[in-house]
């Protein structure tokens, strides 16, 4: 067991392991080896053992990992015993889609608030969430115990929104606006720049038009 700096990619993979374990569990499989797991997730067996090694020893030599035990261990490591409230800012096409995205509900993520600056959208009820105005952002985020925000606004206002969110206590931001947000050290930002990702893909296309 080695409690020193664990990379984000390791953490990210641990979540993938946990998800896979849930699938295996539902198939009534009892144990799995790191190499079998690796095949399922397109990862090397060593990678998996290394990742787990940061947090302890969970396997049995010669036998592999007990799925239920590892599930419990990972849930604890990853904080999956808690639930997280999430808000979405910017209820355009993308924001609306995220608001009804079923995937979040399967995890421990609850979308509990939505904000938009357009008066025409404020008050609208989408999937049991009533859209609030941007002015209410600061007070609502605190009141509703929200620590994670999704920014789905135009790029031009994203930084201002981010500032407001951080002032209100937000610690994690998933940012869909195509700009690099400037945030304090303690705030974690995950950028999802759709154009950029697609654009980058084009570089790898051999035959063009």
């Amino acid at each position: 067991m080695n409690q020193k700096k664990v990379s984000q990619s390791t953490i990210s993979r641990l979540f993938a392991y946990l998800r896979e374990l849930k699938t295996l569990s539902s198939l009534n499989i009892r144990t799995i080896s790191s190499s079998e797991m690796g095949e399922r997730l397109n990862l090397s067996d060593t990678q998996i053992r290394k990742d787990l090694g940061y947090f302890g020893s969970f396997g049995t030599s010669g036998a592999g990992y007990n799925i239920e035990e590892l599930k419990v261990a990972l849930k604890k490591i990853l904080g999956k015993d808690k639930t997280w409230n999430v808000c979405i800012v910017g209820i355009g096409h993308l924001g609306s889609a995220l608001l009804v995205y079923p995937g979040f509900k399967n995890h421990n993520l609850n979308v509990v608030a939505a904000f938009d600056s357009d008066p025409k959208k404020v008050g609208k009820n989408i999937d049991n969430i009533v859209v609030e105005s941007i002015e209410q952002l600061k007070s609502s985020v605190g009141k509703k115990n929200i620590f994670i925000a999704i920014i789905a606004t135009p790029a031009i206002v994203a930084q201002k929104i981010a500032n407001d969110l951080i002032d209100s206590g937000i610690e994690c931001i998933m940012n869909f606006a195509p700009i690099k947000l400037d945030v304090p050290e303690h705030v974690k930002v995950e950028n999802v720049d759709l154009c950029h990702a697609l654009e980058t893909l084009t570089y790898f296309v051999g035959s063009g038009k």
Copy 2:
């Protein structure tokens, strides 16, 4: 100039440089140094010079980079003189949002086709694209000269769709389904697993509920 293996992150950053150069250009700025550029993009100056160094020498000692010249050079390097046809498979909430996403149009990406298995959706006209049935996928992709696809279907069918796409000549896939796609060597996949990204963020939240 050194034509050996350039990492994907370098390519990804080059696109960011190009976008920033366009902004600078529209502000009538003539030249920029790597350190100024770095400040704008939250990158180190060396990083930028290294990235450019893979493709040649574009700057002037003591003066920095001529914005227009560098723009032209990057456009050429990145294949921005071509346009790319894109299709979207799975026209649910997310797929529809992507279909009308304005960001793509600003780049050299044209969404030219959309597919869904739901007969109720087939034939619908969204933003001048008529949704086609999944059966038409194979023939349409070839006919319409599409090399890039966005998968926005449920996870359960994503692999099958991917296989069909690849059979039809697709070389790049942006995958929103929460599974690891199994694809041949030559196909480039960019996974955008929204749940996974958000889930990973939760690990970094200090105070829980």
